[in-house]
C-alpha cells in the first residue's frame, strides 16, 4: 500500500485509541504524561498506565504475527546523541505537559489553545533542529 494510505490508516487507529481511552477510562491519551506519572512521585492510578504502556511495547510482536517480520526502525545516531535527545525530550514533555499524542492527537481536536500553541511550537522547533543539522 502507498505510504499516504498507510499513514492515514495508522492515524485513524491512533485516533480510535485516543477515543477509546477517554470512553473507557476518562483519560487523555498523552504518552509523556502516562509514562511520567509511572515514575516517582508515582500516581495512585498506575495500573491502567502500566498496562497501556505494556500494550504499546508489545505491539510489534502482534505486527510480526501478521507480516512475519518486525517493522523497520532505522536509528543511525551514536549513543551520546541518543542519550541527550532522550533527556531533552523527557525534560521538555514534562515541562510543557505533553507531546505529540497529548497536545497533538488529543489537544488539537479539543481546540485547546494550549495544545494548539504547544503543537505549533514543537513542530517548528523540531523542523528547525533538523534544518540546522542537515542543511547548515
Amino acid at each position: 500500500m502507498h505510504d499516504f494510505v498507510l499513514a492515514l490508516l495508522g492515524g485513524l487507529m491512533i485516533g480510535a485509541a485516543a477515543v477509546l481511552l477517554m470512553a473507557a477510562h476518562g483519560k487523555i491519551m498523552g504518552v509523556s504524561g502516562i509514562v511520567s506519572r509511572l515514575l516517582p512521585p508515582m500516581a495512585a492510578d498506575w495500573q491502567w498506565r502500566a498496562l497501556f504502556v505494556a500494550g504499546v511495547v508489545v505491539s510489534p510482536l502482534l505486527a510480526r504475527l501478521f507480516t512475519g517480520e518486525f517493522p523497520i526502525v532505522t536509528i543511525t545516531h551514536n549513543p551520546i546523541v541518543l542519550l541527550i535527545a532522550g533527556l531533552i525530550v523527557g525534560i521538555g514533555t514534562v515541562t510543557g505537559n505533553g507531546c505529540t499524542s497529548g497536545h497533538g492527537v488529543c489537544g488539537l481536536p479539543r481546540l485547546s489553545v494550549r495544545s494548539i500553541v504547544a503543537t505549533m511550537v514543537f513542530m517548528a522547533s523540531a523542523m528547525i533542529t533538523v534544518f540546522i543539522i542537515r542543511h547548515l
Binding site: L9, V19, G26, H77, G96, L108, F122
Partner: protein
C-alpha cells in the same frame, strides 16, 4: 475488563504507530526535513488521528461518564505561559535530534532495544528530574 481494556488500547495505539510509519525515526526525520527530500506522508497520521478524535470525543461526551471511572478528565488549564512554550521548544529539539517522541520510543523498544535503552534512559531520567524540580518549586 478495566485493566484488559488499557492493554488493548495500548496495543491499538502501538499498531497505529507501526502501520503509519511513525515508529521509524528515519521516516519521522524525513517528515521534519521540509527543505530536504521532504516526505509529507506523516502529516496524514496527525490528520487522520485528529479527525477521529474530534468526532469521537464529541460522541462519547454525550455519555455522562466513562465506562470504568466516575467522570471524563479533560484538562482544564487554559494559560499560555513560559513553561508551556519552553517545554514545547525543548521537546521539539530532542524530537528533531533523532526523530523519536515518547509513543514511538515505546513501540520501537523491542525492535531496536539497545538504541531505545539509551534513548529511554535519557527520557526517563529527564522526566524524573523535571518531576522533582516542579514538585519542589510548587511546594507540593
Amino acid at each position: 475488563m478495566k485493566h484488559l481494556s488499557a492493554l488493548l488500547i495500548g496495543l491499538l495505539f502501538g499498531l497505529g504507530l507501526i502501520v503509519s510509519g511513525m515508529v521509524n525515526p528515519a521516516k519521522v526525520l524525513g517528515f521534519l526535513d521540509l527543505f530536504g527530500d521532504w516526505d509529507p506522508s506523516l502529516a496524514f497520521v496527525m490528520g487522520g488521528a485528529v479527525v477521529v478524535t474530534f468526532f469521537g470525543y464529541r460522541w462519547i461526551g454525550r455519555a455522562g461518564k466513562p465506562w470504568f471511572d466516575i467522570k471524563f478528565r479533560f484538562p482544564s488549564a487554559t494559560n499560555i505561559d513560559a513553561r508551556l512554550v519552553t517545554g514545547a521548544i525543548l521537546f521539539g529539539v530532542g524530537w528533531g535530534l533523532v526523530g523519536l517522541c515518547p509513543g514511538p520510543a515505546l513501540a520501537a523498544f523491542l525492535i531496536n532495544p539497545w538504541a531505545l535503552l539509551v534513548f529511554g534512559s535519557g527520557l526517563l531520567g529527564g522526566m524524573v528530574l523535571t518531576n522533582l524540580f516542579f514538585r519542589k518549586n510548587s511546594g507540593a
